[in-house]
């Protein structure tokens, strides 16, 4: 299993908003580990899915020059379970962005159902931790994410 919690982007408006999609399947280990005999997607992983969607949106806004990391969950409200067979949409919007950080708001929906509302803060670590050295490579934006974005570019849905 790989640490990537979105399958593809279906909308991408640079510096503003992005919508990613994830299909939740019975084949994924994580759905079986939360409650015995009740397969569901753990809420913490929905936060991670939002962090990946919003994090890529924030990273892309600066041309992926900064190392963007999740720094704070400002707010997370969950209304419904996500179970195998569900397709969830993860919508993220940039609320504020500065040199050192960004804040985002967003929601996760499944059809008409509002599953969750999640608001996050991201930090640009190079701007914040004086004197500490980080690896040159952008460890947050891995090859896997590039594939997800490339798919979006080819489909012509990116703005």
């Amino acid at each position: 299993m790989r640490w990537i919690w979105i399958d593809k982007f279906i909308e991408f408006e640079s510096g503003k908003r992005a919508v990613a999609l994830k299909n939740v399947t019975m084949a994924e280990d994580h759905v079986h580990d939360h409650f015995p005999h009740f397969p569901m997607m753990p809420e913490a992983l929905m936060v991670e899915a939002m962090a990946q969607t919003a994090g890529i949106l924030v990273g892309q806004a600066n041309g992926f020059k900064e190392k963007v990391i999740l720094a704070k969950i400002r707010n997370a409200i969950f209304n419904h379970y996500v179970v195998p067979g569900d397709t969830i949409l993860i919508e993220a919007e940039i609320e504020s962005i500065a040199n050192e950080a960004a804040s985002t708001t967003g929601k996760i929906t499944c059809g008409e159902k509002l599953i969750a509302e999640i608001s996050l803060m991201f930090s640009h670590i190079d701007q914040n931790i004086a004197g500490k050295k980080f690896p040159e490579e952008n460890f947050v934006m891995t090859d896997l994410f590039e594939i997800v974005l490339r798919d979006l570019a080819m489909s012509g849905r990116a703005k």
């Binding site: 504020s96 950080a101 804040s103 803060m121 004086a130």
Partner: protein, 129 residues
């Protein structure tokens, strides 16, 4: 946007309740952000973003919380304390802050105590009027 000091305080209070997850009655004028309200470094940026939204103003983080620029300058910090030059710089950069008790022992570990609810209200008041 003309606002009274009390209106500003109420709005700042809302911002801090949301940003730090604290209770209404914890946010008093003299409460310190770090010591009393448990703010960490990322929270300061969260507070800046929320203040910008609440008061519809642009705030540079180093204007409201100029601590990092001062700490990284060797002329301003010596043996864990702020030098005279450092203190003068802080006062100039943070006119909205009360330095009376910090000045007696300018230990850098106590810098956090300078950021009080009142100092934010003062800052916003100057910014708006």
């Amino acid at each position: 946007m003309a606002m009274s000091r009390d209106e500003i305080f109420q709005e700042v209070k809302e911002v801090l309740i949301d940003a730090l997850g604290v209770d209404d009655d914890e946010v008093t004028s003299d409460a310190t952000l770090m010591g009393d309200l448990g703010a960490e470094s990322i929270d300061f940026l969260d507070i800046v973003f929320r203040l910008e939204k609440a008061f519809e103003v642009k705030i540079a983080r180093e204007e409201l919380f100029p601590i990092e620029n001062i700490m990284s300058n060797q002329d301003f910090v010596k043996d864990g304390k702020l030098t005279k030059a450092g203190l003068a710089e802080m006062k100039e950069k943070m006119p909205h802050t009360d330095f009376a008790s910090f000045e007696k022992d300018p230990d850098i570990n106590k810098l956090g105590d300078l950021f009080t609810v009142d100092s934010i209200v003062n800052y916003v008041e100057t910014k708006l009027n």
